[in-house]
Amino acid sequence: MTSEALVIVLLAPLLGGVLAFVLPSRAGALVAATSVASVGAAILLAFGVYTAGVQRHALSGWPAPLGIGLYVDGVAATMVLLAASVCAGIGAYAGGYFRLGPANGARGFWPLFLLTWGALNATFLVADLFTLYVCLELGMITAVASVALQSDARALKASMRYLMAALMGSLAYLLGVALVYGSTGALDWLLVAARPAGGSAVTVALSLMTVGLLVKAALFPLHFWLPGAHSIAPPPVSALLSALVVKGAFYILLRLWVQVFPEVVVPAAAHVLGALGSGAVLWGSFQAVFQERLKLMIAYSTIAQIGYLFLVFPLFAAVARQGGRAVQDEVWHAAIYFVVAHALAKAALFLVAGIYQKVIGSDEIQELVGAAAKAPIATLTWGLAGASLIGLPPSGGFLAKWLLLTSSIALAQWFYVFVILVGGLLASIYVFRVLWFAFSTEPLTAHPPAPDAARLPRAVPFAGLALAIAVVILGLRATELFTLMDRGAPFAGETP
């Protein structure tokens, strides 16, 4: 049962993407079918891991050194489930959104969207470091192409910048993979982890892979490509990129540092990542507060939120030095939970930005006056998702930040406590600033109503709302997800 679900999760989006390219007239039905199949299979897969523990699968029956292994632990199942939920929401939204044009926007969007989704699923499930490179490249190429969908000079330049940065990152990663193979003779990360190979080659390999993945995950100061690419892309694409594509790189990084090369990592290196993460939180949040354009603001907020994720590395290093298994579990939960909560909330925010853009006819935050009356459901979505971004209870974001905060305090990492609190404060400024304008009733500048406003299909705002409600539920019912994450977790007592 679980292996069937695994096959569907891997193949459905890729197959759907290819078919949507060949049969553009049927793309809507194909996306709906893919979404239903993938969400169902992801739930089955998560349930299988929840009840039966870690699942392993050798593709075509070829075992690891030669063939490619699939490895599904709780984290992988969580990520697949997350991708399915976010992509189903984005798919439902985009169906209505692209009806308003640009005319050929949807036609290009559907295949790229499904292929990106498929690449992400493969990234979460594959245990082979080189196949991970191929998955990263597939996801990157489709993501770059979907940024270029609008095909004006601005979008083309942003996508080119994104492509060049990502290509450099992937070559660094590939070189690292080559060095890992050269020094351990294995590519499957479970085998690599089981063959402790010290020495400088492995350190260089891990450094190269880390730098490459940092570019792809857009950690400050390697984020330079993100604001342009994520703010210029059409809103459904921005949602996909900000919510999931950057997380793919972080996911591999987390595995490499915590599960594959824990003995290679030195505390100083972990604190470098922590310092960069802190810089991202502070700098990204400050930039977000001062942005005039809504989508650019959300893009800078993504940079800040990515920064939070990297605070877990120094915390793991502190655990290794000071001990404390309970705290270790908490940091692990915090990392994954933060990814999940941010993905849902950030996708919802970008979807809201798209609705505001259609309703108000502008991307300027100051022009949002009266938006709450014109788009009440979108504004409610903004409030719910924004609360999670700030870390207000009850929401997934609150729980993630709470775990991060309590473990930082338990480990006496006071600088990171400060960063987490200041980041939350700045997030509340930029989230409430939008609400402030949306709820003001007196127009500061008179402008004609956007022609698209009336034609926006009624169902469109509800896709974003569903994601925002999911993030609230995540804050209320976390126990099941924690149990799922612990299946095969590196320190939860249950060895893979």
């Binding site: 490249e137 190429i141 060049m164 080559a178 604001p227």
Partner: protein, 112 residues
């Protein structure tokens, strides 16, 4: 006495690959012209492939080169061809729209 005994061939290829990677990296960061960037990236990629190939020689067993690095290089070439094709397609459209294909540094907000 063969060449392998004097100069380890895999080391030679490894150094050539590293040089290519370094040259490509410098050009990719410093050049503004998109075609130069694409060429630089391809040089970098070739360097990585040469390094991977050097492992195939080093791991050679009774004269037969290790097969896995070859599989990596072939897959890598496929990936790099498609990435190059995408980059060229974007560059061509950019050229048609704006008449030039420069990526200026420092314009990271997409306001150009």
């Amino acid at each position: 006495m063969t060449l392998e005994a004097d100069v380890p061939v895999h080391l030679f290829y490894g150094l050539v690959g590293a040089t290519l990677v370094a040259m490509g990296f410098v050009a990719l960061v410093t050049k503004q012209h998109v075609f130069r960037k694409i060429l630089a990236w391809n040089a970098m990629g070739s360097g990585v492939f040469v390094i991977v190939g050097s492992f195939a020689i080093r791991n050679a067993d009774h004269g037969a080169a290790d097969a896995l690095p070859q599989a990596i290089v072939i897959t890598g070439i496929v990936v790099s061809v498609s990435a190059t094709a995408l980059a060229l397609a974007i560059a061509r459209r950019l050229h048609r729209l704006t008449g030039d294909v420069l990526l200026e540094a420092g314009d990271d907000k997409g306001t150009a």
